[in-house]
């Protein structure tokens, strides 16, 4: 059995130190060591996007990221989007426009949409589809998600 490894990472602005098995996945470190259970596991194979987080500013599937590669990294999870009680405008738009139903895909959708709006503040339908193409939703039929992203973009300052 391999020794544990020590990792430091900055998650949602706070420094964390964890001691984990060498091949632990970032997803499990977030959920189990840091108890940030907003990030979900759907497929475990990179297909569904439920586990999406930002790693050094880029969207990744945390189920496919060996935590050892996140040593020293900046991570943003869904818990990092709101400031205290103030939802990000994307989160608020998902609420107003019913962008979430069961909610399982929502944390991943929000992270991908946050990344999209950071890169492209006024996305077209096609750009939203491209930005969210790695996030599957079994409930909404996507139309409400598109509405939510458009609404947040129209508001201007979508995300952090």
């Amino acid at each position: 059995m391999a020794d544990r490894i020590d990792l430091t990472l900055k998650v949602n602005g706070a420094d964390h130190r964890v001691s984990v098995p060498p091949f632990a996945r970032l997803l499990d470190v977030l959920r189990e060591d840091l108890r940030l259970t907003g990030t979900k596991e759907g497929c475990g194979e990179g297909e569904c996007g439920a586990c999406t987080v930002l790693l050094n500013g880029r969207v990744v599937n945390s189920c496919l990221v060996p935590a050892v590669q996140a040593q020293g990294a900046l991570v943003v999870t869904v818990e990092g989007l709101a400031e205290g009680e103030n939802l990000s405008s994307l989160q608020a738009a998902f609420l107003t426009h019913n962008g979430a139903q069961c909610g399982f895909c929502t944390p991943g959708m929000l992270l991908s949409a946050t990344d999209l709006i950071n890169r492209c503040p006024h996305p077209s339908d096609d750009q939203i589809r491209d930005g969210l193409s790695g996030n599957l939703c079994r409930c909404t039929g996507y139309a409400k998600i598109l509405d939510s992203v458009h609404a947040a973009a129209a508001e201007g300052r979508a995300a952090r």
Partner: protein, 288 residues
């Protein structure tokens, strides 16, 4: 069921030199780990045989896209996103941009690497047809030194490569095209994102005096490894754009490919659609 976590170990060497030395000590026992977008899927499915990994992700020598000696050199760790974002790649190798854009979705493109796409040796990978079309060379590195292999001789069969157990893919060199060029890339999958190719075809042609002066066609998902369509190329080489032997080229393609039935498509589908894609490419070439 996922692999049993305590069985797995990852080694993070301080330098590329140390990594190569470790690989040389016990060749074949350490599996290189780049973006993990192939390896972690197999691990999550509980089917990963390897248990000891060598993390390459911190080696700057394996990163970056540089122009040198009439070629673009891509470090093995170049991600699909970097391919999409690099101006020189857009300018010289539009097929590579299209390959990268057609790969998975954004989160995969941010992590998956060119070196991993090649070394994973999937017949269905999407950058290999473009690399074949552009006449790429692969640079391999070990403690014994470095050597270059023409990419069209790198894949030797299903998951078999001209890659020794102590070697890493260090870089991919792609010569800059000169003259009047024609670039074509088409992937056919179930949807635009997150779909593995049912068939994929990339081509590069240089046109001189209205004729096909140079031509390479790379195809994926229709043979045990990504291959050049040499029979089809031979039929077309030297021909005037005004009267390309389209039917003969489509027929010749049958001698190049050996598609099979699998979960994504039948052999017959692949054979028909790959020929249709070639037809589409030739109609575009004819109207250049």
């Amino acid at each position: 069921m996922r692999g049993y976590l305590p069985d797995f170990d990852v080694c993070v060497p301080a330098s590329l030199g140390e990594a190569l030395a470790l690989m040389a000590q016990a060749p074949g026992t350490l599996t290189p780990l780049a973006g993990g977008t192939d390896l972690m899927v197999v691990y999550n499915a509980g089917r990963l045989k390897a248990t000891r990994f060598l993390d390459l992700s911190s080696f700057e020598e394996l990163r970056g896209i540089r122009e040198e000696a009439g070629a673009l050199t891509f470090g093995a760790l170049t991600t699909f996103t970097e391919l999409r974002e690099c101006r020189a790649v857009h300018q010289h190798f539009p097929n590579l941009v299209k390959s990268a854009r057609a790969t998975g979705a954004l989160a995969i493109q941010n992590r998956g690497t060119l070196g991993g796409n090649i070394a994973n040796a999937s017949p269905a990978a999407d950058t290999p047809p473009s690399l074949l079309a552009y006449g790429a060379e692969v640079e391999l590195r070990s403690v014994r030194g470095s050597r270059r292999v023409a990419y069209d001789r790198f894949h030797l069969g299903y998951k078999a490569m001209d890659l020794a157990p102590d070697e890493l893919v260090a870089a991919i060199h792609v010569p800059l095209p000169t003259g009047r060029g024609f670039h074509y890339f088409r992937k056919v999958g179930t949807r635009q994102a997150q779909a593995i190719s049912k068939t994929c075809l990339a081509a590069y042609a240089r046109i001189e005096d209205g004729c096909v002066a140079e031509l390479r066609i790379g195809v994926g998902s229709v043979a045990p490894a990504p291959i050049r369509a040499r029979h089809a190329e031979a039929v077309l080489l030297g021909q005037p754009l005004a009267s390309l032997p389209m039917a003969a080229a489509r027929e010749a393609l049958l001698a190049d490919i050996s598609p099979i039935d699998d979960i994504r498509a039948t052999a017959r589908y692949r054979s028909v659609v790959t020929r249709n894609v070639l037809g589409h490419m030739l109609r575009e070439l004819a109207t250049l």
